[in-house]
């Protein structure tokens, strides 16, 4: 696969093939990030589509060699926060325990780990997902979330301990 910068440059020229390559490379980790923010499967799925559609229409604005992967993740993150703001989804989801699309109800599908992830606070969830699923380095996460590097490191360790405790029933 081409690197992400090369893909973005081809996408800026209208290449659907390059967009598909980028999708193959990033869709899993983008979905993980979206889910960690909106905590709702169907909304995360819609936002996943919207992220790549936005990438296609804005690729010409990307400045080459300025971390293409972080640029795409920033689009996803902004879309997720916009969606939360518009729909005031957070409060609604806390109250709406009957929503079959929300992750906590997916425990029956053996998603205990993902449910446990959603019990972490929001920044911790994003740190775990960005590091574990998306493969970002702690330093990149610090830039991405505007947090000190050392904070990202200890919050990551603390989050993993919390996950272990939740899953271990401690």
């Amino acid at each position: 696969m081409k690197d992400i910068d090369a893909c973005l440059q081809d996408i800026a020229q209208g290449s659907m093939t390059a967009l598909q390559q980028l999708y193959q490379e990033l869709h899993r980790s983008i979905y993980a990030l979206l889910l960690s923010i909106v905590k709702n499967k169907s909304l995360a799925e819609d936002l996943l589509q919207e992220t790549f559609i936005t990438v296609y229409s804005k690729a010409h604005l990307y400045v080459p060699r300025t971390n293409g992967r972080a640029w795409v993740f920033r689009i996803a993150r902004n879309l997720a926060y916009d969606a939360l703001r518009k729909a005031k989804f957070t409060a609604q989801l806390e109250m709406d325990s009957g929503d079959g699309a929300s992750l906590p109800n997916s425990r029956v599908e053996n998603l205990d780990l993902m449910s446990a992830l959603l019990e972490l606070d929001e920044a911790d969830r994003q740190i775990v997902v960005l590091h574990v699923v998306a493969g970002f380095k702690h330093r990149e996460i610090a830039d991405f979330l505007s947090l000190p590097h050392s904070t990202v490191r200890w919050r990551y360790r603390r989050a993993l301990s919390k996950l272990a405790a939740i899953l271990g029933g401690e």
Binding site: M16, Q20, Q49, M114, L117, V133, L163, A164
Partner: protein
Amino acid sequence: MIDNSFHIIQELNNEFEKHTPNVWPDIKAKLARQVAEQLLEDLSGLPSPQGRLFFEMHFQKTRLGA
């Protein structure tokens, strides 16, 4: 029971691997629709006097008149 960081990391990746939906067909369809709509918008309205149709009409007329 998952009891250490390594397994948590591994399991988390497995979970997202299994449960991430494939939305590529929807993305492709939406973009195709957008492109088609843009094309139709570009083609709407009166043909330009500089366009090929006008050129050919003028060419035919002058040739027949000659």
